[in-house]
């Protein structure tokens, strides 16, 4: 029970209806959870609330402690940073760091030697398939390449956790800028991470990608959780129509279901 969300609500000032209300969710280690829903359903806001950037009411508990508690002291905050990473959707960097340096920034909460840092940087740049970009200047990359370098940075950051410690990886639309191959690559990586003591929570747009890689899908619409369960249960035209207002057609090919 790495993240526990109790009675969470997000209400923007001057808005008649709350964006989200009565959200109760628990995220476990070893699980990839996909947050799904139409535009404006509050997926990203929910993720931002969990990552501490969105004002909200209700309780969020991280690793058994109230969220705000973690930020009371600098050493707690660093402790948290070693096991709690966020891959943002957009991240501008107008300074000419090389990609290797960007990944190195992820190791800031740790206290590794230069040599160990170098090894980790290579290891995670390889894993995110950006090692060939290591000496390129970050601002000169394409959007998808930037996204993958940031992923390598966050993976390096989470490698700072003590062995056996449980971790959380938040991904905000990790596949939106990526080509087909890397969409699958990144989500496969998320699966691998889940297998290494990590709770992965990803905001996704593509239902079929989510169904293929997630252990669990949470569908948001109209400010509430509409459905929460295993992809096979949730990939139903009736449910999808209720959530998205679009009725697709379910096809079954050799046991692999997709909604077209």
């Amino acid at each position: 029970m790495l993240i526990q969300i109790a009675d969470l609500a997000i209400h923007y000032p001057r808005a008649a209806e709350p964006l989200l209300a009565d959200i109760n969710l628990v995220f476990h280690s070893g699980e990839v959870t996909a947050l799904l829903g139409p535009n404006g359903s509050g997926k990203t806001s929910l993720l931002r609330a969990v990552s501490g950037e969105q004002p909200h009411s209700g309780q969020i508990t991280l690793f058994g402690r109230a969220q705000a508690d973690w930020y009371r002291s600098q050493s707690d905050q660093r402790q948290l940073a070693r096991r709690y990473g966020l891959l943002p959707q957009h991240s501008n960097l107008s300074f000419a760091f090389t990609c290797r340096e960007v990944v190195q920034l992820g190791l800031a909460p740790g206290s590794l030697s230069r040599l160990e840092q170098g090894e980790r940087i290579e290891q995670f740049m390889q894993r995110a398939d950006v090692w060939h970009l290591r000496d390129r200047l970050f601002p000169s990359l394409s959007g998808g390449e930037k996204q993958r370098v940031h992923l390598a940075r966050v993976l390096a950051q989470l490698s700072l956790a003590n062995p056996g410690e449980e971790r959380v990886l938040l991904l905000d639309e990790p596949t939106s800028a990526l080509d087909l191959k890397h969409q699958h690559h990144v989500l496969a990586l998320a699966r691998e991470m889940a297998g290494e003591n990590t709770a992965v929570v990803a905001v996704l747009h593509d239902l079929n990608l989510a169904a293929r890689y997630a252990d669990r899908m949470v569908m948001l619409a109209r400010g509430r959780v509409q459905a929460d369960g295993h992809p096979t249960e949730l990939l139903q035209p009736e449910l999808v129509e209720r959530v998205y207002g679009y009725r697709g057609q379910l096809v079954d090919m050799e046991g692999y279901r997709a909604l077209l």
Binding site: E53, L86, S91, F97, L105, A108, R136
Partner: protein, 353 residues
């Protein structure tokens, strides 16, 4: 691929340039003094009678009482400007931030001018008499720092916490205009002495260098630079964005508060001893980033060194170009820095809007 100098080549090169620049700066001026005479004369001045020197007493005095404090003040103020530029660009996450352009220098200038006009000539000051004389040297930089801190905070809020470059630059325009008007108003109520001081300040000059000014500026630079340098890793993380830095374990609120207060303190000290010298904070960190990369662990110390070098070179030129008269060094740095700023704008013209 990226071209970058290593510390092995950049550091010795900078130090060599600093030494050469310093010697030249001590040697040239209304009285030309050879480099051997510079060294012997300074020894003679600092420890009279140690050497059996043939340097005229007058030369030794010019070196020790006028040129050396001026050189040191140039190094320190230039270093402060370079450092503050680098830190502000980190705070605003934009290489176009400069204490002069976004109005921090002007805010500090208003603070200083205010003290100068209202504190030195008024009845209250006369009444306070001796006490005022004692706090005067502190009051000036304190008021300048206050003005600087307020403007930094204001520009930062107006610029949507560093997210909007356009707002940041426009806020700078507005604050510079307001500060110009405020200083203009102060000119009317100022007495002659204060008026002259204010005018000199607005153009920036190292002409008022004294040993006490050197000591004050050096102390402030040390107090400000070391804590900032120790947080270089956090400053790097902040370049990724506030949310990202927070996730990397940085206490963002405290770090930003420290950056605003410390740059304002340093700018206040620099402005109160040397006036508004622009563009060093823009040119220097940018050049260092090109040569060594944006990592603050290197950027901050190199910006201090290179800022000192650049201001000393500019000041030496300002003293010699129109000799025997002297040009305010702020005019020279603007002459060199403003086209540089235009070049940067040109480069970024598609990204800003």
């Amino acid at each position: 691929m990226e071209f970058r100098l290593s510390d092995k080549s950049l550091l010795p090169a900078l130090i060599a340039l600093l030494l050469v620049g310093s010697c030249v700066s001590l040697g040239v001026g209304a009285i030309a003094i050879g480099w051997r005479e510079v060294l012997v004369g300074l020894m003679d001045w600092s420890w009279p009678g140690l050497l059996d020197s043939d340097v005229p007493q007058q030369h030794a005095l010019v070196l020790g009482e006028i040129r050396l404090p001026r050189l040191l003040l140039g190094l320190i103020v230039g270093g402060t400007l370079g450092l503050c530029g680098a830190v502000m660009q980190g705070l605003f996450r934009n290489p176009l931030a400069d204490p002069g352009i976004i109005g921090v220098s002007a805010g500090a200038g208003v603070g200083a001018a205010f003290v100068l006009v209202f504190a030195s000539g008024t009845a209250a000051a006369t009444l306070a008499g001796g006490l005022f004389q004692q706090v005067h040297w502190l009051l000036l930089p304190a008021a300048a720092s206050l003005g600087g801190a307020f403007t930094t905070w204001l520009v930062y809020r107006l610029g949507d916490r560093g997210k909007s470059v356009v707002m940041m630059l426009l806020a700078g325009v507005a604050i510079n205009a307001l500060a110009g008007a405020a200083i203009g108003l102060l000119n009317y109520v100022a007495d002659d002495r204060a008026l002259r001081d204010i005018t000199l300040w607005q153009m920036g000059s190292l002409g008022g260098a004294t040993w006490s000014a050197v000591a004050m500026a050096a102390a402030v630079l040390l107090v400000v630079a070391i804590p900032l340098w120790r947080r270089a890793a956090a400053l790097n993380a902040l370049l990724l964005g506030e949310s990202e830095a927070r996730h990397l374990g940085v206490d963002v609120v405290r770090l930003k508060r420290l950056m605003i207060l410390f740059t304002a303190l340093a700018m206040g000290a620099a402005v109160s001893v040397a006036g508004m010298i622009g563009f060093i904070g823009l040119v220097v960190p940018h050049t260092i980033r090109l040569l060594r990369g944006p990592d603050h662990r290197f950027l901050l110390p190199y910006s201090v060194l290179a800022g000192g070098l650049l201001l000393v070179v500019a000041d030496t030129a300002a003293r010699t170009l129109v000799s025997p008269a002297e040009m305010p060094v702020g005019i020279l740095t603007a002459l060199m820095g403003a086209p540089f700023f235009i070049y940067l704008l040109w480069q970024q013209r598609r990204q800003i809007f």
